[in-house]
């Protein structure tokens, strides 16, 4: 189940990472303040329309971050949270780390988009630590984002490379945050985490019944 599998733009799947990013971008409201996590979530920026009015936050101290810097634009003083050189857009603002995380933790960001190892039916998120005994733990800003943004969107493949579900009844990996995920974008379906349970918004090249057979949890249809 590779994220680089063939992609169609017809709604069939499984989707590749760029199509998943496009789906996320489609659901971000005009003018929203958004933090895109390191890795695949950064692809979402490429799919925001020019008139989206979306303002990107980077936790190392900036609002209105622009695209990755190219050539002469590269400035070692201007990077994103992944330490990639970026650019600034008109209306940008810089601030220090405590102010940046106060903004995040105080609930001022509308949406953050994060990768994940696992998401549970309760919306628990595991994305910082594999739990392997020899792993060196490293959390960065993941726990702050998980509890801070008004809406947390996760972007991940639905199954691991060995076929294990990543949307699970209970996370087995160490948690990043409890009951914090609102929506999960995967290569096979988009899910809402609701108080009633996991609801399927749309599927790609599969059906709710097929997914229900492969996932160890009850699924609600968005329509029902």
């Amino acid at each position: 189940m590779s994220t680089d599998s063939l992609v169609t733009d017809t709604g069939r799947g499984p989707l590749g990472k760029h199509d998943m990013a496009a789906l996320v971008a489609r659901d971000i409201p005009h003018g929203a303040f958004v933090n895109l996590g390191i890795g695949q979530p950064t692809l979402v920026a490429d799919h925001l329309p020019a008139d989206s009015g979306v303002v990107l936050h980077t936790e190392n101290g900036m609002l209105n971050m622009g695209p990755a810097a190219q050539g002469d634009e590269i400035d070692p003083d201007l990077t994103n949270a992944g330490k990639v050189p970026v650019t600034e857009l008109p209306g940008a603002a810089y601030f220090h780390h405590a102010d940046s995380f106060a903004m995040m933790r105080g609930g001022h960001l509308d949406i953050c988009v994060l990768g994940a190892f696992q998401v549970s039916t309760a919306g628990d998120l595991a994305n910082w630590h594999t739990g392997a005994p020899d792993a060196i733990p490293a959390v960065g800003g993941a726990m702050d984002l998980a509890i801070g943004a008004k809406k947390v969107f996760v972007m991940m493949t639905l199954f691991t490379k060995t076929g294990a579900p990543k949307l699970v009844p209970e996370c087995t990996y160490p948690l990043t945050g409890l009951a914090c995920v609102d929506r999960v974008y995967t290569d096979l379906a988009v899910f809402d985490i609701t108080e009633r349970g996991v609801s399927v918004r749309e599927t790609f090249g599969t059906t709710v019944d097929e997914l229900a057979g492969r996932l160890d949890l009850p699924l609600l249809s968005a329509g029902g």
Binding site: V55, L63, G91, A92, Y94, A102, R105, H108, D110
Partner: protein, 222 residues
């Protein structure tokens, strides 16, 4: 979401509900959002809790709002001033509640509201009347008082300049409570002297990023 540029102060304060907690910026007249307070008087919301450093001066602004009986409670550090006779009379006749908060706690409690802090231990006021009934804790030999956030439904603040995205800069000591209050309220309304095109404010000098600002209006008298 995006900052709304309002045509006038009445539009800027529209929708403030009865019973709201309203954070009002300014220290003396510096940074005081005079147009917004006047518009709030016209707007009519009542049973308000007003959080501000002072409790009004003379007959205008906050004092006029108080005089109309629209404020149930004032949370401030320094209500008693030479010309705070409107507040004084209401207070002495039991027609207004007062919570006196040390000025640093006022600022820090609003910062906590804006920063997602649930409560914090602070040394100010330990052992004094203003900490009576509050939880305390000794940390490394020093006594601290547990203080909770002050969150506003609305903040009315004054700034010097805004761009069209609501990025604000202030001027000199008129900065005071504005940047803190802007983080601590659900709806933040800024009165500014001028609105400039986005991209003309140096991003290094923005004090309140537009993410915090919901509505901006240019001063009528500017």
């Amino acid at each position: 979401m995006s900052t709304l540029l309002c045509a006038n102060a009445d539009e800027a304060v529209a929708g403030i509900e009865d019973g709201s907690t309203v954070l009002v910026g300014g220290f003396g007249m510096a940074g005081m959002p005079v147009d917004l307070i006047d518009a709030l008087i016209r707007q009519g919301a009542t049973d308000l809790t007003v959080v501000s450093n002072n409790a009004g001066n003379g007959d205008t602004g906050l004092a006029a709002l108080l005089a109309k009986g629209r404020v149930r409670k004032v949370v401030c550090s320094f209500p008693r001033q030479a010309d705070s006779y409107v507040f004084d009379e209401l207070y002495r006749t039991g027609r207004i509640e007062l919570e006196v908060v040390p000025q640093g706690n006022l600022a820090e409690r609003m910062r906590a509201a804006g920063a997602g802090i649930g409560a914090f231990y602070c040394p100010t006021g330990a052992g004094t009347l203003l900490a009576e009934g509050k939880e305390t804790r000794v940390i490394d030999g020093r006594t601290y008082v547990l203080e909770y956030p002050i969150k506003g439904d609305v903040a009315l603040i004054g700034a010097h300049r805004s761009d069209r995205m609501g990025n604000l800069v202030y001027r000199k000591t008129a900065r005071n409570f504005g940047p803190v209050m802007a983080t601590a309220a659900t709806t933040v309304v800024a009165q500014v002297r001028e609105i400039v095109d986005t991209g003309t404010i140096d991003p290094e000098t923005v004090i309140t990023p537009g993410i915090y600002v919901d509505r901006v209006v240019q001063e009528a008298t500017a």
